[in-house]
């Protein structure tokens, strides 16, 4: 340690600018870790006397650590560096705090979900099963079919609406659409479900439960997300590219299809995948539009279907006997949902990487 050097932060102000301010002392590289260890040991020791509590331990250690590092750095490195260290510690702490619930959720779902994460779960339905065993094949297929249908309906509508807004929209109509898209982004999902119920009450009569109803409810939720994501991506395509295309004598529509969309496709694909991930776990609208069955039904136009969120909900909310069998299946269904969402995110990244503009 070179504590003999002048403290640079204060000194730098009044030294003439012609001389490079000399660097003051620096904490050793292991310094912060040593302080952290010392703080943890101290707090742990003190808590051992009065009774140990993990949350209190973490909180007190973090506080002591921050204060100690700040003071030490203040003495050796000067005020600016000390502040820098304090902010680094605070930001890192906030990050870890934000991460905690996420890690906790994943760990919990993994631990509880792995219980029934077996081949049977993916190959059997619940038809004729009253106790243990059975699976969620029917629910997995239902979720894939209904979400797929919702995506097939929402993506073209959302894409075209966004293209209209960015490339063509001017004046009142565009502003009205933007406004409604904003409103629809915040619409509670149960409202979308009720909308689908009311719509089908007109055509099929009241009390209908169909896969397609769920798909429509989900696409009501999905369209605004797709519009928003696509809109943002189209907006950041530089105008110069459009003009370059126009200047080659390319029409507007071809410019959009062949220049603007390919340039933005990575972001659009990622946005669409996230929109799918957003609706795939919706429970409330599916509960009232699709209902639940125990048997496999792959036809979204006839009769009730099972879906993972609803399956998980019912297994947990009204279990049979033995209770554990149902609760375990609920957790495994939740785990499968998380895995699907994870897979979607990976696909989005893959698409983004494949389509991203390259420079070499």
């Amino acid at each position: 340690m070179t504590t003999t050097a002048p403290r640079s932060a204060e000194r730098a102000v009044d030294t003439p600018l012609t001389t490079v301010p000399r660097v003051g002392g620096v904490l050793p590289r292991w310094g912060t870790w040593a302080v952290l260890a010392a703080a943890a040991a101290l707090v742990g020791g003190l808590l051992a006397l009065v009774g140990f509590s993990i949350s209190l331990f973490i909180l007190a250690t973090a506080l002591l650590f921050g204060v100690a590092v700040y003071l030490w750095s203040r003495v050796i490195e000067g005020r600016r560096r000390a502040k820098d260290r304090l902010v680094t510690i605070t930001v890192t702490g906030a990050f870890l705090l934000a991460l905690a619930p996420l890690v906790s959720v994943v760990v919990t779902v993994l631990l509880k979900g792995l219980e029934r994460f077996d081949p049977m779960f993916f190959t059997y339905s619940m038809s004729g099963i009253l106790g243990p065993g059975g699976g969620a094949y029917h629910a997995i297929m239902g979720t894939l079919i209904i979400t797929g249908l919702a995506a097939v309906m929402s993506i073209p509508i959302g894409l075209l609406a966004a293209i209209y807004l960015v490339e063509y929209g001017r004046g009142r109509l565009a502003r009205a659409i933007t406004f409604f898209v904003d409103v629809m982004t915040g619409i509670p999902s149960i409202v979308a479900g009720l909308f689908a119920v009311a719509l089908f009450a007109l055509f099929v009569g009241p009390g209908a439960r169909l896969g397609i109803m769920g798909a429509i409810a989900l696409s009501v939720l999905m369209v605004p997300v797709v519009v928003r994501a696509t809109e943002e991506m189209l907006k950041i395509v530089p105008n110069e590219l459009r003009e370059a295309s126009y200047a080659l004598g390319v029409s507007k529509w071809r410019t959009i299809v062949k220049v603007v969309l390919p340039t933005a496709v990575a972001g659009i694909a990622a946005g669409i995948t996230l929109a799918i991930a957003r609706v795939i776990g919706e429970t409330a609208p599916l509960l009232i539009t699709v209902g639940l069955t125990t048997a496999v039904n792959l036809n979204p136009f006839a009769g009730r279907m099972a879906t993972l969120p609803v399956f998980s909900y019912y297994s947990y909310a009204s279990p049979g006997i033995p209770r554990e069998a149902f609760v375990d299946r609920a957790w495994t269904a939740a785990l499968v949902l998380i895995i699907i969402v994870l897979g979607l995110n990976l696909i989005a990244r893959l698409i983004a990487r494949v389509f991203a503009p390259k420079t070499r």
């Binding site: 370059a244 295309s245 200047a247 029409s251």
Partner: protein, 259 residues
């Protein structure tokens, strides 16, 4: 190939703002015409009005007459898309398509229009365009690589190759060298000298030496003050514009005594 352009009493607006007023100008075929003038006097605006790129901006419009070999470009029934195919444009900042390779960039004018063309013919066209833009030797081994991965000067020459691949009659260039180093600039100036044999070229530049070096005819635009429209003050042979201009304003500007 090369065509002449005749502007008569051309007024160019952005909404209600008159940006360029009353320009009458003749651009002869197979010449290089330089447009000079202070910033904001409407050089770019005028240039963009010549291939109907101006109207891409909402509210922008043009009054007066603009003819390409006698055809009124703003006449009824004239499709701006076909006008732009005949009057190509190179922009201030190089803007190759980032999703396309060097080859695809040059082929873009035809490909984007879905013009049917045999692969062999396309290869010939791409090579000829790149040769014309003095870029062939540098890129012939990496035609499949992205155009965005080249140096700024190479990218600008790629944009020129892309513009001439659609075989326009006129080539408009808006400060094509302002983002380039002196060597790339020289390469592009040489290129302009060669291209002039086949094309009519109009170039906007802030660089007096460049205007003197490359152009046959120079037009000087000026503006009286902010909010006032830009006007064509004087247009003449470049030699004359730089040695004995008729207008005092021109003399002040070309000798650097402006403002």
């Amino acid at each position: 190939m090369a065509s002449s352009i005749q502007a008569t009493d051309l007024d160019i607006y952005y909404g209600s703002f008159l940006a360029v007023h009353d320009v009458t100008m003749t651009i002869k075929p197979q010449t290089v015409t330089a447009l000079i003038g202070p910033s904001g006097c409407g050089k770019s605006t005028f240039l963009r009005a010549m291939n109907r790129m101006h109207e891409v901006i909402p509210g922008a419009r043009v009054e007066g007459k603009l003819e390409l070999d006698g055809t009124d470009l703003y006449g009824p029934g004239i499709d701006p898309v076909t006008v732009r195919r005949q009057i190509g444009m190179v922009f201030q900042r190089p803007n190759p398509f980032p999703t396309m390779s060097i080859y695809e960039n040059v082929a873009a004018g035809l490909r984007l229009n879905s013009t049917r063309i045999a692969k062999g013919d396309m290869d010939v066209l791409v090579e000829r365009s790149l040769r014309a833009a003095n870029l062939w030797e540098e890129v012939k081994d990496r035609l499949g690589k992205p155009g965005a991965g080249m140096s700024g000067g190479q990218q600008q020459r790629l944009c020129i190759a892309r513009a001439i691949a659609v075989r326009p009659d006129v080539l408009l260039m808006d400060e094509p060298c302002s983002a380039l180093d002196p060597i790339s600039t020289l390469a592009i100036e040489d290129l302009i000298n060669e291209l002039k044999n086949e094309y009519t070229i109009v170039i906007v530049t802030h660089n007096m030496q460049q205007a003197a070096r490359v152009s046959d005819v120079t037009g000087f635009f000026n503006i009286e003050g902010t909010g006032k429209p830009g006007k064509l003050v004087e247009m003449d042979e470049t030699k004359r514009m730089f040695s004995q201009p008729r207008e005092k304003a021109t003399e002040d500007y070309v000798s650097g005594r402006f403002g």
